[in-house]
């Protein structure tokens, strides 16, 4: 981790696969790329085995383009769809056991701050609704109670998509799924309010329809976690297979849900708000110069 880890040893440039040479030359390491430039730089994740039309794959692609410090970031994931793409990205990835991602991330973040006291190291957990709010609920909550300084992103597809379509705590009330034909009898868990109550300093709910806004939210969550405490993003990433959404309607579905129950919502503590105001003021001044 660090920029020195993305520098090819002298003499080996002509023995490296083209993919890696491009990553060093045209990748986002050591520079701040704009998510709207996607396609003009070498991205951190390209090939992945996720389903055609998967909205989670799109979200993950934008996530990697939005990282403020990709060379000093470690991503954690768990069983579920997201790790299929996360593990193939050019950023260190740790596969936690199902449900323990936030416990692993807590230890990792503490270890990194001891091992590299002078460096900024970002830790980001990306897991599904099952990994974070169902099976990983206890460890997720306790990492927030302990005010661990890392970001948790829940890619909520509202179903256990990998295992055939069982309902999760995040499935909407009344929904019938392939392995839950009777329909869900309970409401969707309000993860955002839980995160606020549990001590997160920055919380956002997003339906990823606008890449610029996704990037801004991810960046803010990571920067706030770096300085203040736990942060949480609840992102709607539909499962077009289990919810039978035709590929061409995936974006329309995200827009529809945005209007219904995934309206963009952002909350932060006063000190985080002040921090961003100051940061954005400085950035604007630099642009003017």
């Amino acid at each position: 981790m660090g920029l020195e880890y993305v520098r090819i040893s002298p003499g080996f440039e002509k023995y490296m696969p083209r993919d890696y040479v491009d990553l060093v030359k045209y990748g986002p390491f050591g520079k701040q790329v704009d998510v709207m430039q996607m396609g003009q730089f070498k991205e951190l994740v390209e090939e992945h085995p996720m389903c055609a039309g998967c909205y989670m794959a799109y979200f993950i692609r934008v996530f990697y383009a939005a990282l403020p410090n990709p060379e000093d970031t470690i991503v954690l994931g768990t069983a579920g769809c997201a790790r299929l793409a996360l593990s193939q990205a050019a950023v260190p990835f740790i596969y936690g056991n199902y449900g323990d991602t936030n416990a692993v991330a807590s230890g990792l973040k503490r270890a990194l701050s001891i091992r590299f006291p002078d460096k900024v190291k970002d830790v980001v957990v990306i897991a599904g609704d099952g990994g974070l709010i169902d099976i990983g609920f206890g460890m997720t909550m306790h990492s927030w109670f302990r005010r661990e300084k890392f970001t948790t992103i829940m890619v909520d597809n509202e179903v256990y998509g990998n295992t055939g379509g069982q309902e999760s705590g995040m499935s909407p009330k009344g929904i019938q799924l392939k392995m839950a034909p009777l329909g869900k009898k309970f409401d969707k868990i309000n993860a955002v309010e839980l995160a606020k109550t549990a001590g997160c300093v920055y919380v956002a709910r997003i339906s990823p329809t606008n890449p610029k806004r996704i990037a801004k939210t991810i960046r803010r969550a990571i920067l706030a976690a770096r300085h203040f405490g736990p942060t949480f993003i609840h992102a709607y990433t539909s499962c077009n297979i289990e919810y039978s959404i035709p590929t061409r309607e995936v974006l329309a579905d995200a827009r529809k849900r945005e209007k219904q129950d995934f309206k963009f919502y952002e909350w932060m503590t006063d000190e985080v708000k002040e921090f961003f105001e100051e940061l954005e003021r400085k950035e604007k001044q630099e642009v003017k110069k």
């Binding site: 040893s9 696969p17 083209r18 993919d19 890696y20 090939e47 061409r248």
Partner: protein
């Protein structure tokens, strides 16, 4: 009672018995492993050199600890690896830049992936290889897979304590030790009467970057219709 010289080139078959279960211990400092037995470094180096000079398609698989210049030692070690490669006749370098699983597939001529090293070895018909700069856990994984599924002779130049699953394993190998191994190899080469002018191995044959401006939909033959749908048509199937 442990079998004598139990670690031989494979294929051993699916899930071979781990070398440690066959009574092979890691060598103490100053010693090396040869076919699972603890021997002097010199003996192991000479045997490894003979394999590199006599078996087909000798290849070096440098790992991330060598390929990435993350500190001065790594860069020096990388230099030493290139010096070694120059002395091995018809040697190739196929890198293992990281350990991420790569699906749907890798280019076996351009890289080796520790999760399926046999693809690169079988594709290139490699009968002898050197692992250097690969983190221990992935070296163990790969070496055992190679022994299970291929007839490749494996040589591990380990910076730590060595690997039982390799046919030859040297321990505490850094730049100086690699240069020592190079000298032994040159000596053995001369003894065997093999003439070789030192030269760098061929470059990585990765395909040149696709230039989209030059690609025409017609290049996709019968699949061209997937790229240029008719007016109002929405293509959902990609395969």
């Amino acid at each position: 009672m442990a079998e004598k010289n139990p670690i031989q080139p494979g294929p051993e078959g699916y899930i071979p018995t781990p070398a440690s279960f066959q009574g092979c211990d890691l060598p103490p400092p100053g010693k090396a492993l040869l076919y699972g037995e603890i021997v002097d470094e010199e003996t192991a180096m000479r045997e490894a050199a003979k394999a590199l000079l006599t078996r087909k398609n000798p290849t070096i698989f440098p790992g991330p600890l060598v390929l990435w210049g993350w500190n001065a030692d790594a860069m020096e070690k990388a230099k030493a690896v290139l010096e070694l490669a120059m002395e091995i006749p018809n040697c190739r370098i196929i890198p293992m830049p990281d350990y991420r699983p790569k699906y749907p597939k890798i280019d076996p001529e351009a890289e080796i992936n520790p999760n399926h090293p046999n693809l690169t070895i079988l594709h290139n018909r490699i009968e002898v290889c050197i692992f250097v700069g690969v983190h221990c856990h992935y070296a163990n994984l790969s070496l055992r897979m190679i022994r299970a599924g291929t007839n490749c002779y494996t040589i591990a130049l380990c910076g730590e304590m060595g690997h039982e699953d390799a046919m030859v394993s040297l321990r505490d190998v850094h730049a100086d030790e690699i240069r020592r191994f190079r000298d032994v190899l040159v000596e053995v080469r001369k003894e065997m009467g093999i003439e070789w002018e030192p030269k760098l191995p061929p470059e990585n044959p990765s395909l040149p970057k696709e230039e989209w401006v030059k690609v025409s939909p017609l290049d996709f033959g019968e699949y061209a219709y997937l790229l240029i749908p008719r007016r109002g048509e929405i293509v959902e199937e990609s395969e």
